[in-house]
Symmetry: C2
Amino acid sequence: MSPFDHLHLEIPESNKKRIVIIGGGFGGIQLVKSLRKSNYQIVLLDRHNYHTFQPLLYQVATAGLEPDSIAGALRQLFEKHQDFYFRMARVTGVDPERKVIKTLIGELDYDLLVIANGSKTNYFGDEEMYKRTFPMKQIPQALDLRSHMLQNFEQTVLATEHEEKNRLTNFVIVGGGPTGVEVAGALGELKKHVLPKDYPDIDFDIMKLHLVDAGPRLLAGMSEKSSEKAEKYLSAFDVDVRLNTMLKSYDGEDVTLNDGTIIPAKTVIWAAGVTGNIMDGLPKDSIKGGRIIVNEFSEVKGLQDVYAIGDIAGMYSDEFPKGHPMVAPVAIQQAINVANNLKRANKQKGPKAFKYRDKGSMATIGRNKAVVDLPKFHFGGLFAWMVWMFVHLMSIVGFRNRLVILTNWVWNYMTYDRGTRLIIRTFVRNKNYKPGDTL
Amino acid sequence: MSPFDHLHLEIPESNKKRIVIIGGGFGGIQLVKSLRKSNYQIVLLDRHNYHTFQPLLYQVATAGLEPDSIAGALRQLFEKHQDFYFRMARVTGVDPERKVIKTLIGELDYDLLVIANGSKTNYFGDEEMYKRTFPMKQIPQALDLRSHMLQNFEQTVLATEHEEKNRLTNFVIVGGGPTGVEVAGALGELKKHVLPKDYPDIDFDIMKLHLVDAGPRLLAGMSEKSSEKAEKYLSAFDVDVRLNTMLKSYDGEDVTLNDGTIIPAKTVIWAAGVTGNIMDGLPKDSIKGGRIIVNEFSEVKGLQDVYAIGDIAGMYSDEFPKGHPMVAPVAIQQAINVANNLKRANKQKGPKAFKYRDKGSMATIGRNKAVVDLPKFHFGGLFAWMVWMFVHLMSIVGFRNRLVILTNWVWNYMTYDRGTRLIIRTFVRNKNYKPGDTL
């Protein structure tokens, strides 16, 4: 008997066609919004009851923001929508023949299915890294990292051996993409401005930050100019940036790099990449490169009435041989395109192909420092940092979140302080994570 | 080998006498403040790295506030103090002969010891209640309750049987003191104003709130007029108040009361009382009624240089045959008295006896409603509610907390909304609690 035997995934019948959307990420919530006035019944499924604004997740991990600032309860987002149903459920698979999706609490039939369940941390099959490093994809993970970090500083005060103090305060960040760079910058700022006030008994010269990337430059998705600037900014925080370098092994105490270097560190943050959340029941030849193959209308290869958008969707083309970048704007634009094509179909019009409009990308590296790439223009420094803050503040869902984040940012900026240095979760390393689990 | 073998509780030697304070609650932090300019080295120990403003804990449990609003990192509070040391450590016992306290990370010797480690939820030895009900003393407990509650509503949407929906949405609150009354009021408000918007598919008439108290009236520590008002306000929220009633048993599904009534409920909140955190090593005849017996100077009976203040201290007298009420103002005033007596001793002056100044008490019951008892004056309603808010806002530590709480309260008031409806902790009922544990 399952603990969910008394529960059933039942949705009231409607005279409208039913669209089931899997995942309340950037793609999923945009699709719900764009279909608000359409002629469909909409069912949104997610295993969390909230949307996560992932670009600011690193600020939760580094004690700058509380989770409620960067998350929005999904029911609340759509409480004014008609014939809309949110259900908190973990989708385990799909049966395209019978047109049903399978969850832990039963099946649900669909007329149209949109798979928007995003990506999960990619350990490239390395069980050791999976067990011993901290991922940065979900809010509970960010809170675990924060708790772990603060507990390590408390232990540093109590440690007597120099090597042990070193091990407790060192951080190795794997992956030089935006997440890795932003975490490294935020930790650098904590080291410089915040922690010495809290821990006068610790000599923070022993705390070393290492950022390791397998490629030849940081922020590989951005311009070379921005890569250089990011590296320069990180150096100013004493971050040891090691390019063309990989982790060979990690036993929870010491990191061994492929060049033989050994770094003692109790904390390794794994930001080395993501891979699609592939669910059961999809045809084998519809999967490639960890993503679901879709055509230019986001239709899944070989299936009827099934779409995929965002990180999970591999829209392979000559222009994007590896598919589009796994970032929020792609998911949002694909959601809008799918919604428009559904509306066109209702008017007996043919679908329009998806065309990605790259509006630019950016990353922040601590106080007053960021890099911004616009399509034809790259810049950094204080102005980039202000642009970064403005864009993120405006992109986040809900006026209340904006207000709380702004208050926190102004407070942190004025006081060189962080408000949320509480060790609240009793940390047990990855106790809730099982291999293959995305949480 | 213990996991803490590499850690040692070592404090730098000083030419000043060392005061060790156990517990960073209201008493402990007041004592540190009051002794700032005294001629002592001060060591503060707590198993958490933060002070909890317990009067607002119920708002964390009911999704009104985030933990960072009602907690202050202890290091941060005292970062400007000289010869002050905070150590995160769980104190297990004391050896008054050798003048040392024992912790999981070793021993520490003291010249003076102040025991201010407060109280824990009192289950009166009932293992069943301990395992199956939710306590309300610590922030992690409040977060567990919040998560549990929100998950139950998600399940209610999926439940098909009427009885099951009933069981998932019912709440039984045990204990009609301030915590029980305030939780009941906050849940009543959620039911009336917040939840129906989020869960249009749930008929909230099935949600029943029951408040059970063994005594003849609510808020036994307050005036009869306030008791009556509180009961009236709760009735307006459809709270079923059952006085002179006790829980007979609870199997996790159904509550059985001593009058034979059976209430189906997945959630029972245990606010029936607290008892002192008695540590090992104290003389047996210094313990009475779950508290440490102290004289009018807060000195522990039969010991030299050991004080106890706050909930843990039983200062039994003709006026207070059961000791003082276990509330923050007593702890704060006793801390001030101990600090003053230590300063007097340095000037070769004798100690002054403690005299409790009861400044009044209050409780809030949802929007616009509270009861306030001043020594010679009782009032309720909107003005009491405003006084309640003002006093709590002014009492909380730190300007940032005040700002965040005020923002949240104004937001909640204006929008009939709650900002923090996220299910973030994977809830496993009481998995971390062991009998005798205070967490």
